[in-house]
C-alpha cells in the first residue's frame, strides 16, 4: 500500500489546514480541496490509461499495415491498408470470419442472458430464504471456481459425446450457463438490493414466490444483473478451451478459436499475421461498444436499490 502515499503529495496543504482546524469553514475548505484538480493525480491516472491503451494502439496501427510493412516499417507509423486487410479477412474462406463473430455473439449473448437468469434465481434463492443445507449448497456451487477449465474440457467432451452433442452449438452454450462467480455476485446483490420488507409486502399482497421474484426483486436487481451479464459475456467471449475441444467444424467456431487457428497457420503462411491482427482489432470492437453502452452500470452504487425503497 506504499503506492498510496507517494502519488498524492497534493494532499499536504489540506492536511496543514486540518492542523489549523477551521471550525465552520471546514466543510467548504474540504469540498474545495477535494474538487480542486490535482496535476499529480491526473498524471498518475493518465499514465495508467496510456499503459492500458498502448497494446490497443499497437493493434490499431498494425491493422492498417500490409503484410510486407508489418515487420519493416516503424511500429507506430500507420499505413493505409486497413480496408484491404478487412477485405482480405472478409474474403478468407468465404467470409468465415464474420460467421465466427456471429457465433461469438450467439455464444456470449445467449449464454450470458441465460447465465444471468440462472444466477439471479439462485442468488435470490440463497439470499432471501432460510432453509436447511443453504450454506452447503452455496459452498459447493462456489467450489466450482476452484477447478480450472483445462481440466474440465475433456470430461465435458466425453459427457457431451454420450449425448451426441459434441460439435454443435449446444456443446459450447450449455456448459457456459453455469457460473459459480455469477451466483456469488447475484447473491450479494440480492442481499443488498432487495429488502426483506419489500418481499414480505409483496407476499402479503398475495403475490406468488415466482411473481415476487420477477416483478419485485428483478427490477431492483437490474443494475447488479447487468454487471453479472457483462461479466459472463466477457467470460464466455474469452473462453478458449471449451469451444476448442468441443468443435471440429470451423463454421461453429467462436472468434478466439478461429483467430488462434489463423495464428497457428501463420507459422507456415505468414500472410495470416495481418489477418490475425485485423481480426483481433475487429473482435475487440463489439466488446468496447458494449462496455460504452452499459458503462453507467459499472458505476451503480450497490446500496442504491435498498436506499430508494
Amino acid at each position: 500500500m506504499t503506492t498510496l502515499t507517494s502519488p498524492l503529495p497534493a494532499d499536504a496543504p489540506p492536511a496543514r489546514d486540518a492542523a489549523r482546524r477551521p471550525a465552520r469553514g471546514g466543510r467548504r475548505a474540504w469540498r474545495g480541496a477535494g474538487e480542486r484538480p490535482s496535476a499529480v493525480a491526473t498524471a498518475v491516472l493518465l499514465v495508467g490509461a496510456l499503459y492500458c491503451l498502448l497494446p490497443v494502439v499497437w493493434v490499431v496501427v498494425a491493422s492498417t499495415k500490409s503484410g510486407a510493412e508489418l515487420f519493416s516499417t516503424f511500429t507506430f507509423a500507420p499505413s493505409t491498408h486497413l480496408a484491404d486487410n478487412v477485405a482480405d479477412l472478409s474474403g478468407y474462406r468465404g467470409g468465415l470470419f464474420w460467421r465466427w463473430m456471429l457465433n461469438t455473439a450467439l455464444y456470449a449473448g445467449v449464454g450470458a442472458v441465460l447465465s444471468t437468469l440462472v444466477s439471479a434465481m439462485a442468488g435470490y434463492g440463497l439470499a432471501k430464504y432460510t432453509f436447511a443445507g443453504k450454506n452447503a449448497v452455496f459452498n459447493v456451487l462456489l467450489a466450482g471456481v476452484l477447478v480450472p477449465a483445462v481440466v474440465l474440457a475433456i470430461p465435458q467432451y466425453l459427457l457431451l459425446a454420450e449425448l451426441d452433442l459434441t460439435n454443435t452449438y449446444w456443446s459450447v452454450l450449455l456448459p457456459s450457463i453455469i457460473s459459480p462467480y455469477g451466483i456469488y455476485l447475484a447473491r450479494i446483490y440480492a442481499a443488498a438490493a432487495v429488502p426483506d420488507e419489500v418481499v414480505e409486502a409483496a407476499r402479503t399482497d398475495g403475490a406468488s414466490e415466482t411473481r415476487t421474484f420477477f416483478q419485485v426483486a428483478v427490477p431492483m436487481l437490474v443494475p447488479g444483473l447487468v454487471t453479472v451479464f457483462l461479466f459472463q459475456f466477457v467470460a464466455i467471449w474469452n473462453n478458449f478451451m471449451l469451444p476448442y475441444i468441443m468443435l471440429g467444424d470451423d463454421k461453429l467456431f467462436p472468434i478466439t478459436v478461429g483467430l488462434s487457428g489463423l495464428l497457428n497457420q501463420g507459422a507456415s503462411q505468414p500472410a495470416m499475421y495481418t489477418l490475425v491482427i485485423t481480426g483481433a482489432l475487429l473482435s475487440i470492437l463489439p466488446l468496447v461498444a458494449l462496455f460504452f453502452a452499459l458503462q453507467r452500470f459499472w458505476q451503480v452504487d450497490l446500496a442504491a436499490g435498498a436506499v430508494k425503497s
Binding site: 498510496l4 498524492l8 494532499d11 499536504a12 489540506p14 486540518a18 492542523a19 471546514g26 474540504w30 469540498r31 498518475v44 491516472l45 496510456l50 492500458c52 497494446p55 499497437w58 515487420f71 516503424f74 511500429t75 440462472v118 434465481m121 435470490y124 434463492g125 440463497l126 432471501k128 430464504y129 432460510t130 452455496f138 459447493v140 456451487l141 462456489l142 467450489a143 471456481v145 477447478v147 480450472p148 481440466v151 474440465l152 470430461p155 459427457l159 450449455l174 459459480p180 456469488y184 442481499a191 443488498a192 426483506d196 420488507e197 414466490e209 466477457v234 467471449w237 478466439t256 483467430l259 488462434s260 483481433a280 475487440i284 466488446l287 459499472w298 458505476q299 451503480v300 450497490l302 446500496a303
Partner: protein
C-alpha cells in the same frame, strides 16, 4: 464462506412458513443445481475417477484393443508430487503470484481512489482506458504483448537502441517471469479497479463529511475511512486473483513459441495441458489437476481465515 458475512444474512421474517415457501428456494436453485451437476460436478467426479486409473499397452501396441484401462491406485498422485518439473512449476507460480497479485491490486486500489477523489481530471477517459484490457481475451493480449516484447520487432527496443542502451530481451532467462506477469497485471487491473471503485461509491458521503469536519486530509480519509470500508472487496478480489494466478495458462502458452525460457511445464496447468493433450495421458493430468484444485482450496480458505477476523470484524 465469508460472503455470508459480507452480505447481510437473510432472515425469513414472515411468521408463517408455508410448504410453498419451503420449496420456493429449491425451485429458484433448481436450474443452477441441475446445470452444476451436469457440467461441473459430473466432469469433476469423472476427472477424480480418472486420476486413480491408468492405461496399459500390450506388446507393440499396434493392433486394435491393445490398450486397456486399469486401476492405478495412488501412483498418479505419487508421480505428480515426485515430479521435479511439477514442483518447479509450483515454485514459479508462487513467485508469479507474489509479483502479480500485490501489483495488480495495488494499482487497482490506487486508480479507484483517484477516480473517487474527484481531484483528477480525465476521469471518464482514464476509467474507460484502464478497464479496456478486460475486453481483450488473454490469447489476443498475449499475442499483442508478444509483438511488443520481441527485440526484433518491438518499438521499445528500437528506441533503446537509438539511445544506445543495451536492454536484455525479456524472453531470455528469468526476466520472462515479468513478461508474463505484466500481461496479467495489464489485463486484470481494470476489472479490480471497477470492483473497488464500486465499493467506494457505496461509502455513505456522511462519513466523509464527518471526517472533513474534523479537518482530515484526503490521504487520511482514504486511509482511515475508505480503505477499511472497501477492505472486504479487496479481500475478495485478492482471493479471486489468487485462484486465477494458480490457474495461469493462456498467457505463457501463447508466449511459449517465442521464447526458449518458457518450457511446456512452466506452470502447473501447462503441465496438465501437456500431459492431457500432448502426451495423451489423461490420467496423470487428472491427478495433477486434483492436486491443484485442492491446493487452491486450501490457499484461498487459509487466506480468508487469516484475514477474516480483522477485515470483517470491523464491519460488525
Amino acid at each position: 464462506m465469508t460472503t455470508t458475512t459480507a452480505a447481510p444474512p437473510a432472515r425469513a421474517t414472515g411468521p408463517s412458513t408455508s410448504g410453498r415457501r419451503r420449496l420456493a428456494p429449491w425451485g429458484f436453485l433448481a436450474p443452477a443445481i441441475v446445470l452444476f451437476v451436469l457440467f461441473l460436478a459430473l466432469p469433476i467426479a469423472y476427472a477424480v475417477y480418472l486420476s486413480f486409473r491408468t492405461e496399459k499397452v500390450s506388446g507393440l501396441g499396434l493392433g486394435s484393443g491393445s490398450r486397456t484401462e486399469v486401476w492405478a491406485g495412488l501412483s498418479n498422485y505419487a508421480a505428480a508430487l515426485g515430479d521435479p518439473e511439477f514442483l518447479a512449476s509450483v515454485g514459479r507460480v508462487a513467485l508469479y503470484g507474489l509479483i502479480v497479485v500485490p501489483t495488480m491490486l495495488g494499482l487497482a486500489l490506487l486508480f479507484a481512489l483517484l477516480l473517487d477523489s474527484r481531484r483528477a481530471r480525465t476521469r471518464t477517459f482514464s476509467r474507460t482506458a484502464i478497464f479496456l484490457p478486460y475486453a481483450v481475451p488473454a490469447v489476443i493480449s498475449s499475442l499483442l504483448w508478444g509483438f511488443l516484447y520481441l527485440p526484433g520487432v518491438s518499438p521499445f527496443y528500437d528506441l533503446f537502441e537509438r539511445f544506445g542502451w543495451d536492454v536484455p530481451s525479456l524472453f531470455e532467462g528469468d526476466l520472462v517471469m515479468f513478461a508474463v506477469a505484466n500481461i496479467a497485471v495489464w489485463g486484470g487491473t481494470g476489472f479490480n479497479m471497477i470492483v473497488i471503485y464500486t465499493a467506494l461509491k457505496a461509502v455513505p458521503s456522511e462519513l466523509y463529511e464527518a471526517a472533513e469536519l474534523d479537518g482530515a486530509s484526503q490521504v487520511a480519509v482514504a486511509w482511515r475511512i475508505k480503505i477499511p470500508i472497501v477492505t472486504p472487496s479487496i479481500i475478495m478480489t485478492a482471493v479471486f486473483s489468487m485462484i486465477a494466478t494458480l490457474q495461469v495458462f493462456a498467457e505463457p502458452t501463447t508466449l511459449r513459441p517465442l521464447s526458449n525460457a518458457i518450457s511446456t511445464t512452466w506452470t502447473p496447468l501447462m503441465k496438465v495441458y501437456r500431459d492431457a493433450f500432448t502426451r495423451g495421458d489423461l490420467y496423470s493430468a487428472a491427478a495433477t489437476s486434483v492436486i491443484i484444485a485442492a491446493a487452491t482450496f486450501v490457499l484461498s480458505f487459509g487466506f480468508l481465515r487469516l484475514v477474516q477476523g480483522r477485515a470483517f470484524g470491523q464491519e460488525k
